[in-house]
Each structure stands twice: as structure tokens, then as C-alpha cells.
């Protein structure tokens, strides 16, 4: 009798967990209110919430509800992988052992789903307690980051440092399957958060240390079977092949797809931002525009066919991936309702395009320090200053390798028509030198020399100019890379949330940049600075609006006191 009761109770508890761990796919295209069901909140990439319980009148009262420290212990974890024992891992640029949280969590039915390289977690959003921890035994790979999970029904999807897509049961953390997306032996790895569109998992790819080709692909939500792949450089005989000097260069031209796409359900187009061409710092070895690298590309998600493209860095020479979030904006221009896409790119430029056809409306320079371009051509593309290519004596280039923008998304607020971002004005000195016995290749070295400053900027999308600039005190001389304070979030509470240098989360006035509230992030144990490291999210749970963000290896939830 007693046992029966216990079993019944356990069964009831499990069924609650199972009911909780389910995402109604219809929520995916809706404004994120009771859920943050996909990487960007909704498909638009605006990182905007209609919630206003937290607003200018009460934001000063925000207080910490709980925190969660990322548990990366293999013991006690549900484990999977293609090898019996993980290889000793090699930390790449900006990487930290498993724990550095760059991922935007998902929030569905009271549970937060979070990931980092090799790890995924479900966390009870009521108290920050871990529900399950999944550990991937890696077969090698790159550890620069993992930007989050995707969800469909009761299933989760995330990428691994050795190039696999893993699907988990969201209720239990148990693995359903894994599928290889790219070969770790060719330096492919997976860091982008998968985006679910219909019954498709849209998966991007990372890795450019061996000049391998880039692509984006679609897989079946149930089986993981491959549906289509779209290569970011033209295949033999395709249009655009003429922008490469030869077949070898074209087929090894890179163009990784390492950030999450945005999607317009009415037009049925996904917007794919693509990375730098390869070999990375050798533009002379790949003379031409190098399509479709450093571009914004619109694809049909059902077929993977390209509908239009716009290249934001032709023949990139400085590793200025254009993998920044394409932000979908509906607004009126000259009295006409328009469907637009805005992108502030790593190279320091801002672009506004018609997202139905890719035609450009305006482009502008985001930051004063940007010095590699002499202006814009008739298509609005930046024109490179030929004197600014790497030199024997060194070319002082801004932005630095980290870019004015990087992977952390900006936010667009429909009420103000402004795009908010954190702009870094860094510099590198780029040198070129001969390498004996290496035909057709130059050595390249970039020397990091800090920079001018970092600022939050509010860009008027209709002019491309800043309405206001807030320069962060203390960011002079060595500004953080733009993502080192995380991404941004705006809300109908008339607030813009962002990390700030020195270890703070700030709520600012969208009209003026005035700082209305800040939280000081508790110091963590590792050497990584305790700045915000991911993009904040917000949602309603049990009648209360929460603000959730990560710094280093911890997740923090803030809420108004009862």
C-alpha cells in the first residue's frame, strides 16, 4: 500500500516533469512572454520583450532571487559521446573549461535550459536548482563557446566541440541521438544555438583553422536526418564562382555559420550571416569578393535555396566575420510600411536592407575609430583602403580582431526605432612577413594594442547615426571585446538591459542612456573577468517578471520583491 502510494507519487511527479518539459511549437513565432522558447526569444532577433512589470518606476528595486553555479563534474552526469573517454581538451581563444556561460538560456514551463561546450543543464527556474546535467565525452575539438540549445516539443538540440548535433529528452536529459555535422579532424565544431523552424533544426557550423568549406544545414527534428546543406561558397559552375581566383581557393574558402539565424514566417526566409573567408589573413591568396563569405544571405528554409545575398565585407582581410545577428524590423519609411533587416557588423559598419529582396537602404560607420575603409560604394558596401592591408612595418587597424560588434546580439526597440549595441573601439597592428619555403603564403601576425574605449550606442535605424553614446568609464586603453559584456535586451518597461565593463548588469533609459539601475556581479573564482558573459532574457513566471543572465560560470535571476 505504502509502496503503491510512493510509486503513484513518483509517477505523478514524473508526469508533471514530462508535461513541463514540452514546448508548444506554436509559441516559437510569438512574442516571448511566458516563455523564452528560442535563442533570440522570437524569430526576429530583436531581443525585445513586451513585458512591462519591471519598468522605469520600479527597476531600482530589482533584487537577486537565486543564482546557479555551472556544475561541470562528469560524476553524476548523464553522459554521451562517440568515444569511451573524453580527450584532454585544448582551450582555444576566449575559452574556459566548460563553465564559461555564453549561452542564451531557454525558458519553458518553469525550466531553464542552458549549455556550454560539452555540457547541458536543466535548471528549476523557481530556485536555481539543477534538475539534470548532461555531459558530452568529446573526441577533441574547439572550446571557444556554446551559444545555447534549441527546443521542439519535448526535445532539445545542441552542438558539441567535436562537431556533433546532440538531441536530448528535455524531461530527463537522456540522449535521443547524435549526428555528426562536421569532422573534428578537419577542425569543424559546433557552437551556434540550433534554431527550430517547422519540423527542421537549422544547424550552423564553426571552424576555420584548416581552410575548410562552410555551410549551414537542416535536419529532421525527430530523426536528425539531413534535409539540405547550403554551402557558403559557390559550388563548381554556380554563380559567384567568378569571385574566387581558382577552384581550390573557392572550395577551401571558409565562411562559417556560427551564429543563430533569424526568420520571417510570412516571407518564409531565414537570414543567415556568414563568417570570414579563408585563408583568414591572406586576401592576396583569394583575390576577388569571395562570395558568399562575410555576407547576409536569405534562404528558403524548406529547400536551402538562396533567394538573395548582400556582402558586407568583400574580400575580408582582418577576420571580420559578418556573423552578427540580422535584426528583422517592420517600420514605416517615407509613409510606406517596410519589411527591413538591420545588421551591425564586426567590421564596424551598420546596414539597413529590404528583407524581401536584399536591396540596401543605407549603410554607415558605427564607431569613429574604424579606419580600414575609405567610404561606401554605390551598393552601400564599405570600400577597403588598400594601404591598410597588413604591412611589413605594421598597419594599425581598428577595429581589433574582436570587432566593433561580435556575436553578442544588439536589441531593437520598436517604441524608439533605435538599435542598441555595445561598440568596442579596439586596435591591432597587422604585420606581414615572408615564410621561406611556403609558396603563395605570407606569414601574418597581429599585435593586440588595446584601444580607445567601449560605449553603448543607440543607432537610429533610419539614419544610421547614433542618437546618443554612453562611454563606459574605465574602458579606456583596453576596451573589452563587445561580447565580453554580453548581449542586450529591451523591454516595453521602457528599459534597455546590458552588461557593463567592471562587472555590472545595467538598466538604461532607452531615450537618453541614463543608467537607472545596476547590479554588481559577485566576484567569481576564475581568472575570467566577472562581466556579463551571455545575453539577458526576461519572462513571466507565476505572475512575476524575471531577468536572467550569466556571468562567467554562474546564472543569476533577478525579480521585484513581493
Amino acid at each position: 500500500m505504502k509502496t503503491g502510494l510512493v510509486i503513484a507519487a513518483v509517477a505523478a511527479a514524473l508526469s508533471v516533469v514530462h508535461a513541463q518539459a514540452h514546448l508548444d511549437p506554436a509559441l516559437l513565432g510569438k512574442p516571448p512572454v511566458d516563455a523564452w522558447p528560442t535563442h533570440h526569444g522570437d524569430y526576429s532577433g530583436r531581443h525585445y520583450s513586451t513585458l512591462n512589470q519591471i519598468n522605469q518606476s520600479n527597476v531600482k528595486s530589482l533584487a537577486l532571487a537565486w543564482s546557479y553555479r555551472a556544475n561541470t563534474a562528469e560524476q553524476g552526469a548523464i553522459s554521451g559521446g562517440v568515444v569511451a573517454k573524453a580527450l584532454p581538451i585544448t582551450l582555444g581563444a576566449g575559452a574556459a573549461t566548460g563553465g564559461l556561460l555564453k549561452a542564451t538560456p531557454l525558458f519553458v514551463n518553469g525550466v531553464l535550459y542552458l549549455s556550454s561546450p560539452d555540457h547541458a543543464w536543466a535548471i528549476d527556474a523557481k530556485n536555481g536548482r539543477e534538475i539534470w546535467h548532461y555531459y558530452w565525452r568529446t573526441s577533441g575539438g574547439e572550446y571557444i563557446g556554446n551559444r545555447g540549445v534549441g527546443m521542439y516539443g519535448g526535445w532539445l538540440y545542441f552542438g558539441t566541440p567535436d562537431g556533433y548535433l546532440v538531441s536530448l529528452d528535455a524531461a530527463t536529459g537522456r540522449e535521443r541521438w547524435h549526428q555528426q555535422v562536421g569532422e573534428v579532424k578537419s577542425n569543424y565544431y559546433s557552437s551556434a544555438a540550433p534554431v527550430i523552424i517547422g519540423r527542421r533544426v537549422i544547424v550552423g557550423l564553426s571552424g576555420d583553422a584548416l581552410d575548410v568549406p562552410g555551410w549551414i544545414e537542416s535536419r529532421d527534428v525527430e530523426t536528425g536526418a539531413l534535409q539540405w546543406q547550403w554551402y557558403t561558397t559557390p559550388r563548381a559552375g554556380e554563380p559567384g564562382a567568378e569571385t574566387w581566383p581558382n577552384d581550390f581557393a573557392r572550395e577551401h574558402g571558409g565562411g562559417m555559420t556560427w551564429t543563430s539565424v533569424t526568420y520571417d514566417p510570412q516571407l518564409n526566409l531565414i537570414y543567415v550571416p556568414t563568417g570570414n573567408p579563408n585563408p583568414v589573413y591572406s586576401p592576396e591568396d583569394r583575390k576577388g569578393d569571395n562570395l558568399y563569405t562575410c555576407s547576409l544571405v536569405a534562404l528558403n528554409p524548406d529547400t536551402g535555396q538562396m533567394v538573395w545575398y548582400y556582402q558586407t565585407s568583400p574580400n575580408d582581410a582582418w577576420d571580420f566575420d559578418s556573423t552578427q545577428t540580422p535584426v528583422l524590423i517592420d517600420t514605416t519609411i517615407d509613409g510606406q510600411p517596410r519589411k527591413l533587416v538591420a545588421q551591425a557588423t564586426r567590421n564596424g559598419m551598420f546596414f539597413l536592407l529590404d528583407r524581401t529582396n536584399g536591396k540596401y537602404l543605407l549603410s554607415s560607420k558605427v564607431a569613429e575609430s574604424v579606419n580600414w575603409s575609405t567610404g561606401f560604394n554605390s551598393k552601400g558596401q564599405p570600400v577597403r583602403n588598400p594601404d591598410k592591408l597588413a604591412q611589413r612595418g605594421g598597419a594599425l587597424i581598428s577595429p581589433s580582431n574582436g570587432g566593433v560588434q561580435n556575436w553578442a546580439p544588439p536589441t531593437y526597440m520598436p517604441e524608439t526605432g533605435l538599435l542598441y549595441l555595445n561598440a568596442s573601439q579596439g586596435f591591432d597592428i597587422h604585420y606581414t612577413y615572408d615564410i621561406k619555403g611556403s609558396p603563395g603564403e605570407f606569414g601574418h601576425q597581429a599585435q593586440a594594442v588595446g584601444g580607445y574605449d567601449m560605449s553603448m550606442r543607440a543607432i537610429d535605424i533610419k539614419t544610421g547615426k547614433a542618437k546618443w553614446i554612453h562611454r563606459y568609464s574605465g574602458s579606456e586603453w583596453n576596451p573589452p571585446r563587445p561580447h565580453q559584456v554580453g548581449g542586450l535586451l529591451s523591454t516595453a518597461g521602457n528599459l534597455v538591459f546590458s552588461g557593463a565593463p567592471g562587472g555590472f548588469m545595467v538598466a538604461a533609459d532607452p531615450q537618453t542612456g541614463r543608467q537607472l539601475w545596476h547590479a554588481t556581479i559577485p566576484a567569481a573564482a576564475t581568472e575570467i573577468k566577472t562581466n556579463v558573459s551571455n545575453t539577458p532574457i526576461t519572462y513571466m513566471m507565476d505572475g512575476r517578471q524575471y531577468l536572467v543572465f550569466a556571468a562567467d560560470d554562474a546564472l543569476y535571476a533577478y525579480v521585484l520583491p513581493r
Partner: protein, 283 residues
């Protein structure tokens, strides 16, 4: 993105008093072969004898078209070949070599044994690994400017001589630092260090003046500053941290190196090169 094959980013960052946000851990140390092996998922290190046998096979059968170092000649660069990087024990290579690509001038090699293919694969993978790191740059090679023009700028338009003197603080500076370090420190003396094993003098501190309500002034050496806190050491050696909110109280920072920061927005590469050419002469 990162994890670069064909570049090495040199960082000479040291903690500076005003810096709250040194870019800790942004770039990996120069990888050893083992570390690269893990990045590329090498489960077992190759047998050195197999690599040597592969090298012999390569030299006699492949080097004529693909170059002595396999980085390409008439034939493609094999360090960047997916047949090489994706190979496991010669199987992928073997499939390819059975037929070659006769239309592109690549003949078939159908008689290679499984052992030959394993050895050839082991050797070619060492070429791919080598392609991920590069010989370093010779710092002396960056001195390309005109020392006379550099001296003229130093004493004239650049106003460098306002603070620096070739017989004072810059005496022997061309011998102390290599030219890359010298150029980096010239651009950003608060962030770029002296290079391996070279200690640098601490940069002159910035000073700060905080005007509290009622006009009370707290002033001293700046320790750190952010939007929300300023920390200083006052004239009595007392460390004080003062909270700030939207520029209240008023905080005025005076940095003796500020001209260097403003110069970042002004430099032409020519001026930078000329200045370095001049500074290296101050032995």
C-alpha cells in the same frame, strides 16, 4: 573566428592600474603538436617510424607535383586537403588514390598497399598539423620607416619631446625593446608590455579628483574606475572607494599618457613606422 591557423596573435598585456578589463585568456598560447592533435581529434599519436616511411613514399611519388613540403606546387596544397584531414588510417586517401582525378592531372595510385596508405596518411597529417602553426616573425624586419622623418615628427608635430627625451627616459630604449614591442608600447603604453623576460617601468599613474556634495574634494592616485565606483589612494596613503551614479559625484581624471590614447585615432602607418625607425637608433 578564432583558433587561427595562419596567424599568431601576440599579446603583451600586463595589468595596469587603470585597467579593469584586461583581456584575460583571449588568445591561446602557441599550441604544441599535442594540443593541436586534440583540437583535431587525434585519438592516438602517429608512430614516428610510420611518419618517416610516409615521408619517403611522399618524396618519391607526390612531391614533384605537390611540393617538397606538401603545401602545393602545380598540384594542390595537401595540408588543406579534406582527403588528408578527414582521413583515418589511410582509408579515405586510399579510396581517392584508387582512381585519382585524371581529368585534373591527378593520376591514380591503385597499387599502394594498406600499409603504404597508413604511412602516407601519417606523414601528410603532420603537414596539416604544421600548417596550424607558423614560423615566427623576425621583429627586426618591421623597421621600414625613415629615422630622420621620425626624429622630425618626434621633435615637431608629434610633440613627443614634450614628455620624452633621447638622452633622458628614452636613453637606450632601442636596445631594451625589440621593434615590435617598441611600436606596440608607443601606441599603447598602458597595455603593451615589454615582451618575454623584459620588465617595463610602471606607467605613470593617472590622478583623480572627486567633488563630493558640499564641494568637498577627495583627490589622489587613480586605482580603478567604472561607471559605478572610483577607487583612489589619497595624499595620506588611504585607499578610498566612492560610489558613483550617472556622473554624480563629479569625477575628473587626469592621465599623463592621454596623448598616446588620442594619437590612436590620428596615426598614419607612415608616421608610426618613421617613429619606430627613429626610436631603434636610440641604443
Amino acid at each position: 573566428m578564432s583558433g587561427r591557423a595562419f596567424s599568431r596573435i601576440a599579446l603583451f598585456v600586463f595589468a595596469s592600474t587603470v585597467m579593469l578589463h584586461a583581456q584575460a585568456g583571449q588568445q591561446p598560447p602557441r599550441p604544441t603538436d599535442d594540443r593541436i592533435g586534440n583540437r583535431l581529434g587525434a585519438l592516438t599519436p602517429a608512430d614516428p617510424a610510420a611518419i618517416e616511411r610516409g615521408r619517403t613514399l611522399y618524396s618519391s611519388g607526390c612531391a614533384f607535383c605537390h611540393g617538397a613540403d606538401a603545401r602545393g606546387a602545380q598540384g594542390p596544397d595537401l595540408a588543406r586537403s579534406l582527403y588528408v584531414t578527414n582521413d583515418e588510417g589511410g582509408r579515405v586517401l586510399g579510396e581517392f588514390l584508387k582512381t585519382g582525378r585524371p581529368a585534373n592531372g591527378m593520376p591514380p595510385f591503385p597499387t599502394l598497399t594498406a600499409g603504404d596508405l597508413t604511412n602516407l596518411s601519417a606523414f601528410l597529417k603532420t603537414r596539416a598539423t604544421a600548417a596550424m602553426s607558423r614560423p615566427p616573425m623576425d621583429p627586426a624586419s618591421i623597421v621600414v620607416g625613415n629615422a630622420t622623418a621620425g626624429a622630425a615628427y618626434f621633435n615637431g608635430a608629434g610633440r613627443c619631446s614634450t614628455c620624452h627625451s633621447p638622452t633622458g627616459d628614452f636613453k637606450g630604449i632601442g636596445a631594451k625593446y625589440n621593434p615590435v614591442v617598441l611600436q606596440g608600447r608607443m601606441v599603447n603604453p598602458r597595455v603593451v608590455g615589454g615582451g618575454r623576460g623584459v620588465t617595463v617601468p610602471p606607467p605613470p599613474p593617472a590622478t583623480v579628483r572627486v567633488t563630493l556634495s558640499g564641494g568637498h574634494v577627495v583627490a589622489g592616485r587613480l586605482v580603478s574606475v567604472s561607471d559605478f565606483f572610483v577607487t583612489l589612494i589619497d595624499g595620506n596613503g588611504v585607499r578610498r572607494t566612492i560610489e558613483r551614479d550617472n556622473d554624480v559625484p563629479k569625477v575628473e581624471i587626469s592621465d599623463p599618457l592621454e596623448a598616446h590614447r588620442q594619437q590612436m585615432l590620428v596615426y598614419t602607418d607612415q608616421i608610426m613606422h618613421d617613429l619606430v625607425a627613429y626610436l631603434v637608433t636610440l641604443k
